[in-house]
């Protein structure tokens, strides 16, 4: 069961559970997948907003015992359900996201980027990384670099030189 105590981050378990869901890995973990040796303690995904896909995502989150991540002070433990996920997706504006905690660690669902772009705008330039049975669709490297440069938080500035070097070597 999920808890507010320490749940080890297990992104492989999350990615495996999401195998039937259409999404892009975005954010810091996308940088890791491309090979940036940076630290990130959560997984950010941008799902396709198709209704059936949102339902599949909800099922995966139920399997992962997903709850909405809220400040500890609220004392609430709101489980992720199909209805909650649909509401969150429908009302999503620029920067809209749902932050969850699962039995395999934090999983943040970004419906749209800060500039309003969503899955359909980015999937065409995305890339699939695979090994054995694991296959993960990741936001395009150029898009990832542009976004990190635009946002410019400390963790973005740390990842950028690695990502630019990875692009240079390709």
């Amino acid at each position: 069961m999920p808890s507010r105590s320490f749940a080890a981050f297990d992104p492989l378990a999350i990615l495996t559970t999401l195998s039937d869901v259409e999404y892009l890995v975005v954010g810091g973990f996308a940088a890791v997948l491309y090979g940036a040796p940076t630290v990130t303690g959560d997984l950010d995904i941008m799902p396709c907003l198709d209704e059936e896909n949102v339902t599949r995502l909800a099922s995966a989150l139920v399997a992962l015992h997903g709850i909405v991540r809220e400040p500890r002070s609220t004392g609430r433990r709101l489980a992720v359900t199909v209805e909650l996920l649909r509401q969150s997706a429908t009302g999503a504006s620029a920067g809209g996201q749902l932050r969850t905690r699962t039995s395999a660690g934090p999983l943040d669902i970004l419906w749209r980027l800060h500039d309003g772009r969503g899955y359909d705008d980015l999937v065409g330039r995305s890339c699939v990384l695979a090994e054995d049975e694991l296959s993960v669709r990741v936001i395009g490297l150029d898009d990832l670099i542009d976004i990190k440069a635009a946002i410019g938080r400390p963790q973005d500035r740390v990842a950028l030189p690695y990502l630019e070097e990875i692009r240079r070597r390709r």
């Binding site: 981050f9 992104p11 040796p37 630290v39 070597r169």
Partner: protein, 55 residues
């Protein structure tokens, strides 16, 4: 510090990147998770002084 430090840091960064790029996808994911879990564990020990995490 200064230029010597920057050169050394650049060398470390490049070595780290080379090593990480040599890993397969799953090993890269697992390495990142191990690192994140270690950092989180240390952060909790330092912020809460919780002996449950001080193994």
């Amino acid at each position: 510090m200064g230029a010597e430090y920057d050169d050394r840091q650049a060398e470390i960064d490049e070595t780290l990147l080379d090593c990480f790029l040599e890993l397969g996808l799953k090993a890269r994911i697992q390495s990142a998770a191990n690192f994140a879990n270690a950092v989180e564990k240390l952060r909790r020990i330092r912020s809460a002084g919780d002996s449950d995490y001080a193994e």
